[in-house]
């Protein structure tokens, strides 16, 4: 089943306690292989006494052409990390760098254009605009930029996600799995530097989920895409080249070529709560 090719080690080595030392410290522009990185990323919610730290001084980089999974229980900060990396949310302190651009220097419009032109998104649910057909949804970011999708590329993407006969349908006429495939096609259509997938299989049955993960894997292996996927599912994480573990706003683990078993084992070893949390959500 698994198409993964064994790849080089991830660029980051972390110590079990969660104190992260980046081997390829910024400036990230020095490293062409880094698609995105967080540098001493800190995010607080609320003010004063009620303030809660969602991210505590996190530094992490994601290499180009790789499929990384960010794992953690709910409240671990994995979604906040992804939102900040994707330019959907701002850090309280630290920096996010996407392909050499420091996001903290961008205003709302520039951030929006960055998301549109350089980042692809696959959300857990409610991925598509209900009034647009599948084809229009796929073309959405490119159309918003006022340009057209390269027809050859569009063909390749649509063939890959196997949606050719579904293009004229509206989201309400598609199954959940098909909707997620449209979302993947949309994320790929603009040839972004980086795709963020937020629990892309969270709402799907296991067969559809597997198909979605196959497509993501395929996009990395054969289209040279970079994907960062947030998940709490060890099975989903096993499709990635690397799994980064978050807990309480800090990185607590980082393993290469994860398998479902190694991920679960790591989760239990690092944080019994996380594994327990996983059991709960699965149950």
């Amino acid at each position: 089943m698994r198409h993964a090719v064994t790849r080089g080690r991830a660029a980051i080595v972390c110590e079990p306690k969660g104190a992260i030392v980046s081997t390829s410290a910024p400036p990230p522009s020095a490293n062409d292989r880094v698609a995105a990185s967080a540098v001493h990323a800190t995010k607080w919610y609320g003010h004063g006494d009620t303030a809660v730290a969602a991210l505590k001084d996190v530094s992490v980089s994601f290499d180009s052409g790789r499929f990384a999974a960010v794992m953690g229980a709910s409240g671990s900060g994995k979604s906040t990390l992804m939102h900040c990396l994707a330019g959907l949310d701002r850090l309280t302190d630290g920096r996010i760098i996407i392909g050499g651009t420091d996001l903290s220097t961008l205003d709302d419009r520039a951030l929006t254009l960055l998301r549109r032109d350089r980042i692809g998104f696959v959300f857990q649910a409610f991925n598509l605009v209900p009034t647009l057909t599948a084809k229009e949804n796929i073309e959405l970011p490119v159309a918003l930029a006022g340009s057209k999708v390269d027809p050859a590329w569009f063909d390749e993407v649509v063939t890959m996600v196997d949606l050719r006969d579904r293009l004229a349908h509206r989201p309400s006429e598609l199954s959940g799995g098909q909707q997620q495939r449209v979302a993947i096609a949309r994320a790929l259509a603009s040839k972004p530097e980086l795709i963020f997938a937020d629990e892309p299989t969270g709402n799907l049955d296991s067969a559809s989920g597997t198909t979605v993960l196959e497509f993501l894997r395929h996009a990395v292996d054969h289209m040279g895409q970079t994907i960062v996927m947030v998940t709490h599912d060890p099975a989903a994480a096993s499709w990635a080249d690397r799994a980064v573990f978050l807990s309480d706003g800090g990185i607590v683990g980082d393993i290469a070529d994860p398998t479902a078993a190694s991920v679960l084992e790591r989760m239990q070893a690092l944080d019994p709560r996380m594994a327990a949390g996983h059991e709960r959500t699965r149950g």
Binding site: H83, A86, L88, D89, D108, R109, T112, L113, R115, R116, D117, F121, F123, F126, N127, L128, V129, P130, T131, L132, E136, L140, P141, A143, L144, A145, G146, S172, R186
Partner: protein, 844 residues
């Protein structure tokens, strides 16, 4: 359950504010109209009780012209009596005092040379005799003394003040017999108030009034005071026993009741006119309310389903939504009533300027009950359908994921709408081809109902057309169009509000522009003279006509006088002028016979009247004039153009028994060869300079002033319809705002994948624009069709023979629709653009 309802209301304050506003404005208009007419009617009541307060009996001529006339509002036109009746009546048993009176037109010329008041557009400007019987007159002196000689007058206090005169001043006056100057010797007040309802009153001695008002030896009314101990009925009987010819006698009470009735019937016309606009506003409001509630219910589907799941019955859910509507209705009606009362009292103080009459604003039980009934009724009725839908929400809907999307518009609804539209089209085409205006009365409402019911389909068509047009403008526009299409029913009912307004504006505009075109056509093809003389007062005194006639530049003149007589047993408006001169200067579109050679006792009649009465050339027609004469008239010609000639035309000699006022309403003048129209106008201007109400215009100027009069009428109507447009505007804002709340997650997604704020604003703007345009375009088409059918239905025998589509105005309506749409999108667009994508994505 009630507590849940209240909690809902307080949580949705902002959304319901807009709904309340729609009800509030409608109720305000209704309440204002009722309060104003009640107050005015109370004013008239006190006014007319004052007129005959001290009079036991009123004697007047029984010669009158009744019927469906322009003058009907002021009561029938009545003849006069010889003034020697006073002496006879004075001898009747039980009579203590007798006062003979005449009344007519007199207008004060202000210090600045302009005439005071305008009897054609406002309260009357009157002149009358000063009654020497102090106990019988409603007027009392407050300064100076009564007029004792022909040179002396008294006026009401506020008129003297407004015109800038004091006791001792020389006051120029315009009267039916020409301009005169008299000395002001006294100031009067009417009854308990300053002046009678804003009218102006100049009083002369009786002989002078009879001379000036051209009623020598004649009286309009004789007031009788009874001796102590003699009742009104007794004194009436005693006068009736005299068997005076051509008179009727009635008690003072009956006379004041009749006067009240005539005034009230005029007032009820005014009330109906205002209420029509109030109803339009409420109707438009009803769409907005219904729409808001259906959106709120759709959004609360899960909440309502949850209520059902935990055991609320269908009835309870229904009651909950209806109660919510009722609370909105109560609040909005209360505020609307208060505002309506306030606006009415302000209007009243403007209308009643210079009079202490009716200083109190009347708030009747009818107004209060009516306002609440309408406000609450409309709100609850509008909410019932959405409420029923809400009550039918199955409990399992609570578990479903997204908001209800409703693309359907129902086959039955489509068919019913189409049937109405077909009926409307058939009726309107029928009206135009068969010349039956009644069919417009069927076609217009059928068209409006059809457009509302068929609206979703029309909205879809509009959106599909627009989709093709905006395809090139990119994704934001495309999304806007798709949003309109996602719920055509909602789009249509939001647009309906604007549609009703646009329909009315366009229909009225087409009608008005055709009326102007008719006048233009008439002047161009029918006026063979060079100059038209008219008056903003009571016409051009014949003395002035004579001076025009003798001016060196004048080749010929036809001065047209109007009056009313019973002709063929029916109250009829007639015109009188020199037949040869008129047929030379005005083309009456004669069908048969000869107008130029009408002799005494000969008449020409309109084709409409001839057809209705089955008259032909040679028919002998019995007539009754105001002076009691009963001539037999002979039909000698039949004409089609009624604008100048009215229903019946003849020489002044023919109608002398009914031509009371020695003034012409309009005079057509031809210049001598070599004299241009404008040169003639300039020279005639000098001739009539002493009459500030006279208007000397070339044919071109006359056309322009007719058009501008129409414009001022249109402005009033547009101002009234503005309220409907404001409510429609609120409706679009409301619908867009609610739709945006409904789509928060989708907007978050769009922002996440790269839609900029300005692109999002464009999307909302396009949606608003499309809703507004849907309403405006349907209204344009429907209104133009209704207006055109109405004009075409009148046929060639009517005054309205012209037909003109006011393209400029229609384009203005379209532009106004665009502006309304864009303006309505401002707030919702800002709100949508401000959404934080992450919060939006996370929202439920």
């Amino acid at each position: 359950m009630f507590r849940t309802t209240l909690a809902n209301l307080s949580r949705r304050k902002l959304r319901l504010l807009a709904t309340s506003l729609a009800v509030l404005l409608g109720v305000m208009f209704t309440a204002g109209t009722l309060v104003l007419t009640d107050s005015l009617s109370a004013t008239f009541d006190s006014l007319f009780s004052d007129v005959y307060a001290h009079t036991s009996a009123v004697v007047r001529s029984n010669q009158k012209v009744n019927g469906d006339l322009r003058l009907a509002a002021a009561g029938p036109t009545r003849g006069t009596m010889p003034d020697d009746l006073v002496a006879q009546i004075a001898k009747a048993p039980g009579v203590r005092a007798v006062s003979g009176n005449v009344q007519g037109y007199t207008q004060i010329v202000k210090r600045n040379g302009k005439a005071l008041g305008n009897p054609n557009q406002g309260p009357p400007t009157m002149g009358s005799s000063w009654s020497m019987q102090r106990t019988l007159s409603p007027y009392r002196l407050v300064a100076g003394h009564a007029p004792t000689s022909a040179n002396e007058i008294v006026t009401d206090l506020s008129s003297a003040k407004d015109a800038g005169y004091r006791i001792g001043d020389q006051v120029p006056l315009l009267t039916p017999t020409g301009r005169i100057t008299r000395t002001l010797v006294g100031l009067t007040k009417f009854g308990s108030a300053g002046a009678a309802g804003g009218s102006t009153m100049v009083q002369f001695t009786l002989p002078e009034a009879q001379r000036v008002l051209s009623k020598r030896g004649q009286l309009d009314e004789i007031w009788v005071g009874a001796k102590p101990g003699v009742t009104e009925t007794q004194v009436v009987a005693s006068i009736q026993a005299l068997h005076l010819e051509h008179t009727e006698v009635l008690t003072g009470l009956a006379a004041s009741q009749q006067a009240k009735k005539a005034a009230t019937s005029f007032l009820s016309f005014f009330t109906v006119f205002l209420l029509v606009f109030a109803i339009i506003a409420l109707l438009v409001g009803a769409f907005i309310i219904a729409n808001t509630f259906s959106i709120l219910v759709a959004q609360r589907t899960r909440e309502l389903a949850l209520l059902r799941a935990i055991g609320a019955t269908t009835r309870q859910v229904l009651a909950s939504v209806v109660t919510e509507a009722a609370v909105v209705g109560v609040i909005a009606s209360t505020v609307g009533l208060a505002l309506g009362y306030f606006v009415a009292s302000m209007l009243q103080s403007i209308l009643m300027k210079g009079s202490s009459l009716g200083s109190g604003t009347t708030l009747s039980v009818r107004t209060v009950v009516g306002s609440y009934a309408i406000g609450i009724g409309i709100t609850v009725l509008s909410a019932v359908f959405p409420a029923r839908r809400a009550a039918r929400v199955p409990p399992v809907a609570a578990m479903r994921d997204s908001a209800v999307e409703d693309h359907s518009h129902g086959v039955a609804r489509t068919i019913i709408g189409a049937v109405f539209l077909v009926i409307a089209a058939a009726a309107l085409v029928g009206a135009a081809t068969t010349k039956s205006a009644a069919l417009v009365g069927l076609g217009a409402p059928a068209g409006l109902i059809g457009a509302v019911v068929f609206g979703p389909v029309l909205a879809q068509v509009m959106a599909r057309i627009t989709r093709v047009l905006v395809r090139r403008t990119g994704m934001p526009g495309h999304l806007g169009v798709e949003n309109v299409l996602r719920n055509p029913r909602r789009t249509a009912s939001t647009a309906s509000a604007l549609m009703i307004g646009a329909t009315l504006v366009c229909a009225i505009s087409v009608f008005a522009s055709s009326a102007v075109a008719s006048i233009n056509k008439l002047v161009d093809t029918g006026f063979h003279g060079d100059v038209v003389v008219t008056s903003t007062g009571n016409g051009i005194p014949l003395a002035d006509v004579a001076r025009i006639e003798t001016s060196p530049e004048v080749a010929s003149i036809a001065a047209v006088r109007y009056g009313a007589a019973m002709i063929g047993g029916q109250g009829t408006l007639f015109s009188a002028s020199d037949p040869a001169a008129l047929s030379h200067l005005v083309d009456l579109k004669v069908e048969s016979g000869d107008v130029a050679h009408l002799g005494p006792g000969d008449i020409a009649v309109s084709a409409t009247l001839a057809t209705a009465q089955h008259w032909a050339i040679g028919t002998k027609v019995p007539a009754a004039m105001l002076d009691g004469s009963h001539p037999t008239l002979t039909v000698r010609a039949i004409y089609r153009s009624r604008l100048v000639a009215q229903e019946v035309f003849g020489s002044p000699e023919t109608f002398k028994g009914s031509l009371v006022v020695p003034s012409a309403m309009i005079a057509f003048v031809a210049a001598k060869p070599g004299v241009s129209g404008s040169a003639l106008a300039a020279s005639l201007d000098k001739v009539v300079r002493n009459n500030p109400t006279a208007k000397v215009q070339t044919n071109a100027q006359y056309k322009r002033s007719a058009a501008s009069q129409m414009d001022s009428f249109l402005k009033i109507v547009y101002a009234m319809l503005l309220l409907a447009v404001i409510i429609a505007f609120i409706g679009i804002v409301n619908t867009l705002g609610l739709s945006i709340l409904e789509r928060v997650r989708e907007l978050g997604l769009l922002r996440a994948v790269g839609m900029t704020r300005s692109q999002l604003r464009v999307t909302v703007r396009i949606e608003a624009l499309l809703i507004a345009l849907t309403g405006t375009v349907i209204g344009l088409v429907l209104g133009t069709a209704i207006g055109s059918a109405l004009i075409k239905s009148f046929g060639p025998n009517q005054a309205l023979t012209g037909f003109a589509i006011p393209w400029g105005r229609l384009v203005t309506v379209l532009v106004a629709g665009v502006v309304v749409g864009l303006a309505a999108s401002l707030l919702p667009a800002r709100r949508a653009a401000r959404l934080d994508p992450l919060d939006a994505l996370a929202s439920e």
